[in-house]
């Protein structure tokens, strides 16, 4: 596991993807990808092979365009669809499936904060097959919003410098948006072309989970920002209710829901075909052990609950997005997604851990690499601390306090 690697491959040049028009189109496309990805997920994780082909296939399928608004030529599918797409993909391979997360998160911000010109340009890029990654929060012990990445004004224009981390998807992207301080010290989002001079994407993601997401470093070495259109003044957004945070969290919860579903499927398959019955059960087949059956039942029940709350949340967000946003509706969105987040986190971890208890010791053998499922669940659910979601819910119900407005709520 060497961790300091330059990307050994670059994204293919953008090309217009297939057209997706409806929910069913999207689900069909996701299922087709998932079927393919499931075959090779274990090996990709074991050998830490970045899913280049898989991500190119994702883009070709048109799934990258599904949230582009109708006004800009896209299908404008619902968040319900978006969530389900992530669930399907991540049940098969949560690493590959996570990669497009920032693509959609950033598009939501574009929709809320972009000028008509920006929207026309960047949504157009998406419809032409561009992928968006991001350059994530900086590493270190300061709170996660701490930022030293900055734009400075030079005679040639704005130049960007900084070292970002947690940059899921950047390595595969055509555009890499990043948070930075503008010359006045205000937070902005800057869109940087992946192939701009001075952009260095390093595959130094060394986590034991979500191993092939390449969620590592992006370093900007005095990168010239060619157009003002590439700069979004997000400092203006803190006072404005938005849905970028909830949409981003919705995707996170969908990933975890998918991981849980995948874990349960693997458990069932293993118990039915490979597990040995335990002597005290007095049964011929492992799947007839009453405690195994009841444990599977509990996992299934909790998974249904998480999936249903996730779906309800997506619907709530769709309804809220259809109206002008208010402080209250944005708060309700954050509350709704906190609910989904808690339940998907719990069931992902539990299903991934129980897999082995129900399947038995031989499920830890290397051939199937089932251990990746727990490692992926464990790492991905650390995206932001779930303990504060309980606090958020309690503060809302008990004290009527609206959730803090940041990208993790």
């Amino acid at each position: 596991m060497t961790t300091e690697n330059r990307a050994e491959r670059s994204p293919l040049p953008p090309a217009p993807p297939r057209r997706i028009a409806t929910h069913d189109d999207a689900i069909t496309a996701a299922r087709a990808l998932a079927e393919d990805w499931a075959q090779s997920a274990a090996r990709r994780d074991a050998e830490r092979l970045l899913p280049w082909d898989e991500i190119e296939a994702f883009t070709r399928s048109g799934l990258g365009t599904i949230t582009v608004p109708k006004d800009y030529g896209g299908p404008e599918l619902s968040l319900v669809t978006l969530a389900e797409v992530f669930e399907i993909l991540c049940a098969a391979d949560s690493s590959a499936g996570q990669i497009p997360q920032n693509h959609f998160g950033v598009l939501r911000l574009l929709q809320e904060a972009g000028t008509p010109a920006q929207k026309a340009r960047f949504f157009g890029d998406i419809l032409n097959g561009h992928r968006i990654g991001n350059a994530g929060p900086e590493k270190g012990r300061k709170v996660v919003t701490h930022n030293t990445t900055a734009l400075r004004l030079t005679p040639e224009g704005l130049r960007l410098s900084g070292h970002r981390f947690y940059s899921t998807g950047a390595i595969f992207a055509h555009w890499i948006p990043t948070r930075a301080n503008d010359p006045e010290g205000r937070p902005v989002q800057v869109w940087v072309p992946r192939n701009a001079l001075g952009v260095e994407v390093v595959d130094d993601w060394s986590s034991f989970g979500q191993r092939t997401t390449a969620s590592g470093s992006v370093i900007f070495h005095d990168v010239l920002i060619e157009s003002a259109e590439q700069v979004f003044p997000i400092w203006q957004r803190t006072a404005i209710p938005g849905l970028a945070g909830p949409v981003s969290q919705l995707i996170q919860a969908s990933i975890d829901s998918g991981i849980a579903q995948g874990a349960l499927e693997q458990t069932i398959a293993f118990v039915r075909t490979r597990s040995r019955p335990w002597i005290d059960a007095g049964v011929e087949r492992a799947q007839d052990d009453p405690f195994v059956i009841a444990d599977i039942g509990r996992l299934q029940i909790e998974l249904w609950a998480a999936q249903q709350v996730l779906r309800d949340t997506a619907r709530t967000l769709d309804a809220i997005a259809a109206e002008p946003l208010t402080d209250d509706s944005s708060a309700r969105a954050s509350v709704a997604i906190a609910e989904a987040k808690i339940l998907t986190t719990e069931i992902a971890l539990k299903a991934a851990e129980k897999l082995f208890e129900l399947a038995g010791a031989s499920a830890t053998r290397s051939d199937l690499n089932l251990g990746r499922i727990w490692r992926n669940a464990r790492v991905h659910t650390l995206h932001d601390p779930v303990r504060w979601k309980f606090h958020l819910l309690g503060n809302w119900h008990l004290n009527g306090i609206q959730p803090a407005r940041h990208q993790w709520n």
Partner: protein
């Protein structure tokens, strides 16, 4: 403890026309009955007047199909209505359970004439009492039977845990007919030979009047016999339909407990020393604890609604698969409503403190109610039923309690 002869003929009954109206009526009625719930439980005051007001709202007629003049509300709406009322008074939410059950049996097995007749009664405010089968007894064969003498039919037997019978105008009873097939016989409450005894003395759901009913040579009108056996022989949504109401009651009681918790923390609880705050509601661990209860109730509610949707699908088209899916979804809802209901009822105290246990608040009734009501049938076998389907593709048993 014989039942007091308080039953009045139904008065004017509103007819509810839509799902939204049903919810609004439930909210209004819940608000009406909530203040008296503590006293009714404490002094075991049977809610005769409350029930008459309940009937008058029209809520007892909401499942009457549109073809028979009702609102034909969805099962999701029915479950929500029951939960709303249970949050205010667990007993009052349970009393109509067998009424709705009888209407569902009727829908499933009654002739068009029977459906027209009994649905009309329901819309006019007639309450149907007990009929639930005695699943889970060692002696599964029914002791209550239909007997024929001189060409006339009579019911003979005795039933227990008859929730609602005491308050009913009509008592539908499940018996075996002469061919040993199960039928539901509708009997007017004032038939000769019916004795209703209010001998329910459990510590929870105290005013449900879940007593016993004995039938001593009770004459039967042959037109009032509805076939029931088919629901065990063929896929039928009757089982999950009965069960979803149980789940709704348990969720509702939990929601009621949660609703009591919040103002108590804000207005009456004492901050704890070590928290270093001056108001109980600022204790970070209390806030987190409130969030914990909230999310468990939310998960249970989501499963209840999910079950309602799948049950509506099974009612629209009852197949082996659609009924199994509905049964499993309801079983899942029962599992989480049981857990969340109990959690909310016990955390009510943990998040407030000893002062919530004092005086006339009678706040332990939430726990007593939900603990008692969740024992209807053992939730431990719900996990098994769901797991056996997920793991082994085995559909749940068709014995009416799932």
């Amino acid at each position: 403890m014989n039942a007091p002869p308080r039953l009045a003929a139904p008065g004017t009954v509103h007819v509810i026309g839509s799902d939204d109206e049903a919810i609004a009526a439930a909210v209004a009625f819940a608000r009406d009955i909530a203040p008296g719930a503590a006293a009714r439980d404490r002094d075991r005051l049977l809610p005769w007047e409350e029930l008459d007001r309940f009937s008058a709202t029209g809520l007892w007629g909401i499942t009457v199909p549109r073809a028979f003049g009702g609102a034909g509300v969805s099962t999701v709406t029915l479950a929500r209505v029951i939960a709303i009322i249970a949050a205010a008074d667990g007993s009052l939410a349970q009393i109509p359970q067998n009424h709705f059950y009888a209407l569902e049996v009727l829908r499933s097995g009654g002739t068009p004439d029977q459906q027209a007749f009994f649905n009309a009664l329901a819309l006019r405010g007639q309450r149907f009492g007990n009929a639930v089968s005695e699943i889970g007894t060692r002696d599964f064969s029914r002791s209550t039977r239909l007997i024929r003498e001189d060409g006339k039919l009579f019911v003979q037997g005795r039933k227990f845990y008859c929730t609602g019978a005491i308050y009913a105008h009509v008592i539908p009873t499940v018996t075996l007919d002469e061919d040993n097939r199960q039928v539901m016989v509708f009997l007017p409450r004032d038939s000769g030979g019916i004795t209703i005894t209010d001998d329910w003395d459990g510590f929870g759901q105290r005013v449900t009047g879940s007593g016993s009913v004995s039938f001593d040579h009770v004459a039967v009108n042959p037109d009032w016999i509805v076939p029931f056996q088919a629901s065990f022989d063929h896929p039928s949504p009757i089982g999950p339909h009965a069960q979803i109401m149980h789940a709704a009651i348990d969720l509702g009681i939990g929601q009621g407990a949660f609703a009591e918790t919040l103002p108590f923390i804000r207005d009456r609880a004492r901050p704890w020393l070590d928290a270093g705050v001056t108001r109980a509601q600022d204790d970070p661990l209390t806030i987190q604890g409130v969030g914990e209860v909230a999310i468990r109730l939310r998960a249970a509610e989501a499963l209840l609604h999910r079950a309602g949707h799948l049950l509506d699908a099974a009612i629209r088209e009852a197949t082996e698969d659609s009924v199994a899916q509905a049964s499993l979804a309801v079983a899942a809802a029962r599992a989480l409503t049981t857990e969340a209901g109990l959690l909310a009822a016990t955390k009510l105290f943990e998040l407030t403190g000893t002062s919530a246990t004092l005086g006339d608040g009678n706040l332990d009734r939430y726990w007593r109610n939900v603990r008692t009501h969740t024992l209807h049938d053992p939730v431990r076998w719900k996990y098994h039923a769901v797991g056996n389907h997920t793991l082994n593709g085995v559909n749940p048993p068709r014995h009416g309690a799932i």
